[in-house]
Symmetry: C2
Subunit: 337 residues, 2 copies
DNA sequence: ATGAAAGCGCTAACAC
DNA sequence: GTGTTAGCGCTTTCAT
């Protein structure tokens, strides 16, 4: 019942614990005979070195702390997946906590884990943190020798490794794509205008409009904030109606679904009368009717990249801080022409 | 940079480490004066007792191992959420690993964490494990003194705490509901017929059909297995056409979405000509057109319950093994009449 | 080739 | 009221 320790093995063979330790670690100091019998016994009895003893000794836990704003969002779930996969491959485990978009919770989590529980953090900060630009907890963590890798929602004021989506060009390229396929009244629906990524997407949209030579019309842009997705449709319906748009880009899937529903109710056909393209990672896009054309964000790759960078840093394979930009892909489905 | 330890504090005040330890733990043995100055200093310098040292000493890590088949599924993400929330409230953290429906991976994860990394497991086994009925790794873990709480996909052969959905009655009640609202040709679409939960849902359906006094017709049941969701629609279209069903129950959201699409293409109106009801947790149901009536599964509650039970067990508040059944709720939306 | 001992950071039983 | 010591499980340096 109680775990087998090095001490038990030592007693069993009437040797010292250091002999056992060395034998198990295949030290040249130990005779083949002893090594063999000890290793055999250890294997048969399913010996495993105690994790906490090792961590204490090595001052390294081989575990990564992940802080996510939520798990109930396909993007973050995908990022988690990428981190977990890469971490396991490289012999690390992950402790995952959810901030629920709350600064206090985020702080609490960081404090809770900054006691030798983890070697480093991978995180995307909470909305509250970003909006209040309250970054001192990150700074302190780093100063205490715990590296942080930020992804998606990153703090430019903090010096650390960062992985971001190419939101700007994702939006810009989409505008160009829509223009080339004949659209001239391109709208922009944002539910993220209070976040940096939302602003980047907007700026990319605006730049795109300029690039193709269309006039920028503020009326074609709507920011929906602090609103439940259930209200999106009723907010978007008049917006679409008034502006007679022939296409819209949305910063997320829910808004795109609501836009399509509103448009269909207004008698539009999609994509004939209106194209809808959303920043997305997935699930709704593939199941909506019509299936949604998306600016795809590669959450899993983002997670893999974040884990690789953090582990490389922990293993001293990195010097300067990196800022990796993950390109988006325009995935053409049936909601755009 | 390097973490403050009890030793550093002892040196600072020229006292012994045990004095510091006692002072920090507010022992009655220590004078108020020393306690105060030491506690103050500790607080100011952000002292935190080393996690690994504590775990080693107490033989308890206050961390829970979670093994999920996937995170890219709203149900499991919800369960995770419930576990993480409850765990944190009770002072536990969670290490989360993904089995990807693979037995080998599941085994590997269990072995990796069974070295004092965690105090107990909460898991839902992989499909492969369930299909091959390969449960010895669970048995051994429990025998080694590491408690397991299983949820959703549970092994009846293993004696441990279990939380399951009331799949049987969820299906049965839905059949009765459909019958009462005038449906007579009720179909059943399963994508989980190789899992126990899928069988329970089917048995509930069958029992329901008997209960309301309809003839059980095998033709009205279709099992889709090892097939990508993209193919669902083309598989379901002839099935719906041939049987002229007036309603179907599906074991999951994707199949329900595909059914609706197939039905609409066949010229059916939903719910006028056909009602669709799915076992579900969410996301697609609320965004589909029409919005989906669901047999809702309460993933978050399941997670909270699992965490509560595991922690109670770890803290010796439990004796006999419990088997908690979580009721489903029929959430009426627009895909059924 | 093997063992003794120190130390990772902490607690607690037992001195003083 | 404060200090000494042993021990949690392990590695590693330094004897032997």
């Amino acid at each position: 019942m109680n775990k087998l320790t090095i001490k038990d093995i030592a007693k069993k063979f009437n040797v010292s614990i250091s002999t056992v330790s060395k034998a198990l670690n295949d030290s040249y100091e130990i005779s083949d005979a002893t090594k063999e019998k000890i290793q055999k016994y250890a294997k048969e009895n399913n010996y495993k070195p105690n994790f906490n003893a090792l961590s204490l000794k090595n001052r390294s836990t081989k575990t990564i702390g992940i802080i996510l704003p939520t798990m109930l969002n396909y993007f973050f779930a995908q990022v988690f997946n990428g981190i977990e996969k890469t971490a396991l491959e490289r012999g690390y485990k992950v402790i995952t906590c959810i901030s629920n978009e709350s600064y206090d919770k985020e702080l609490e989590i960081i404090e809770m884990l900054s006691n030798g529980s983890i070697d480093g953090f991978i995180l995307s900060m909470s909305k509250e943190t970003e909006i209040n630009a309250n970054f001192s907890h990150f700074q302190e963590t780093i100063e205490n020798g715990i590296p942080i890798v930020m992804f998606d929602r990153v703090a430019s004021a903090i010096e650390c490794d960062k992985i971001i989506t190419d939101d700007f060009n994702g939006a810009l390229n989409t505008v160009e794509h829509l223009y080339k396929s004949g659209h001239r009244k391109i709208g922009f629906v944002s539910t993220l205008s209070n976040l940096h990524i939302g602003q980047q997407r907007f700026l990319g949209y605006k730049k795109g409009i300029e690039t193709v030579g269309l006039p920028f019309n503020e009326e074609y842009v709507i920011n929906i904030i602090d609103t439940d997705y259930k209200k999106y449709e009723e907010i978007l319906s008049p917006f679409l109606k008034k502006n007679k748009l022939d296409s819209i880009i949305t910063t997320g899937e829910s808004a795109a679904v609501a836009s399509m529903k509103a448009a269909l109710k207004l008698g539009y056909q999609i994509p004939k009368d209106m194209s809808v393209i959303a920043f997305s990672n997935g699930i709704l896009a593939r199941h909506s009717s019509p299936k949604m054309t998306t600016i795809s964000q590669h959450g899993e790759l983002m997670g893999e990249t974040a884990a690789t960078i953090l582990i490389d840093r922990l293993e001293n394979k990195l010097t300067d801080f990196t800022k990796k930009v993950i390109k988006t892909d325009l995935v053409i489905r049936d909601s755009s022409k």
